[in-house]
């Protein structure tokens, strides 16, 4: 399974949506983690249980959802359109660093030249990052959905990644870590919800936030007051 801006719309996945072996399902966002809900993790499990051996998770490309999804998938793929330099800066910080593979899309016609430039830029940039795996360095490729160029190469790379990660034991370690991270994510989110909605706390939050922002109260002291209210009458 992987992640990226795959244009996850049935109308735009005409071939895939006609394939009897494929199941496509858009998920509504529910406010938490920028669109990736706890259910995303469980839907992946469900698909695996249902016999699907390749599960693609697409995110909207903004907010926190990419970070949450990176903790659920085996391989994180970043799809980049060959836009100008200014638009590149719009990529959320930290996302490039999570990518196991970066694919520059629409690399056909007039866009071949900018796509090549962006590929070269990302190859340089990725060199500055710490290696996360002993067996894999992130790859940067060019693909075109129109001409089909690069697509099968990309799939080969993804298969190679899977084989290397499996053989080295890193995939198992990664999955085990992800499971634990996910358990604590759910706990943390639930504990904060529990806190925010607690009767002794909820009405005080706006007032104390206001005092903190205006410098009347230190953040630590405001936190203490809220925590005391929470613990005193839980």
């Amino acid at each position: 399974m992987f992640e990226g801006s795959l244009l996850g719309d049935k109308t735009r996945m005409t071939e895939l949506s006609r394939d009897m072996n494929a199941y496509i399902r858009p998920s509504p966002t529910r406010g938490t983690l920028g669109g990736v809900t706890r259910t995303t993790n469980e839907v992946i499990l469900l698909c695996e249980g249902g016999g699907y051996d390749i599960v693609l998770v697409e995110t909207v490309g903004v907010g926190q959802s990419e970070f949450a999804v990176a903790d659920m998938v085996d391989m994180f793929v970043l799809l980049l359109p060959p836009a100008g330099g200014d638009e590149l800066q719009g990529i959320k910080r930290g996302i490039v660093e999570m990518a196991d593979l970066v694919a520059v899309t629409k690399a056909d016609g007039d866009l071949v030249v900018p796509a090549r430039r962006i590929q070269a830029e990302y190859i340089s940039a990725l060199k500055l990052l710490r290696k996360r795996s002993k067996v894999w360095s992130p790859k940067v490729m060019r693909i075109s959905a129109r001409t089909g160029e690069g697509i099968s190469d990309m799939w080969d790379k993804m298969t190679e990644y899977r084989e290397l990660m499996l053989a080295s034991g890193e995939l198992i370690t990664k999955r085990q870590r992800q499971q634990k991270v996910w358990m604590w994510n759910v706990i943390q989110e639930s504990m904060l919800d529990h806190f925010r909605s607690h009767f002794a706390v909820r009405d005080q939050i706006p007032l104390l936030e206001e005092k903190v922002v205006s410098g009347i109260l230190s953040p630590g002291l405001a936190a203490d007051l809220l925590l005391k209210a929470f613990k005193g009458r839980s």
Copy 2:
């Protein structure tokens, strides 16, 4: 105030430690947030209250402390030694992206050439990141403590940053946001401690983590069981 690997040791800050206008204090780490404790934030306030108009916060350069400190300071400075390509990869992911200024240190003698190369690499890499400020783009400079080259230029840039951020109102907005973030950091950490040490929860954590890691229980279900134990007998 800023942050970076300033070699915060009195023995290595010989000139500064003789200056009657300077106060240097090492802080012990206490396990939370990779060495930056809640008290760091409050010590900064205390120094400001004591009349110190420049407060430098140094972190150890590993773990989560840089991220925590970035949410406390006006300007985040990353100091990089001019090491080879391999060592550069050791920089914790995400840290470069928080920097308002990157200084390549030890840029003297034989190291001038590698320092120049690293400067050029970081200038390219920083171009790929989204702009965080309307008035400031992160700068990359070379400095040498031995020859003193670049130090006063660096200070000029830091002063320029401060003036631009103040004039545009971004500094005030940043500080207000930081205060709120810090309040919630304290709450979150305290709530997780509260949870982990709760009598109905603490003994179950290792067992449930084990079940999650070995795939017997889904992370969401394990979280539910722990949360139920917490809420049922709090």
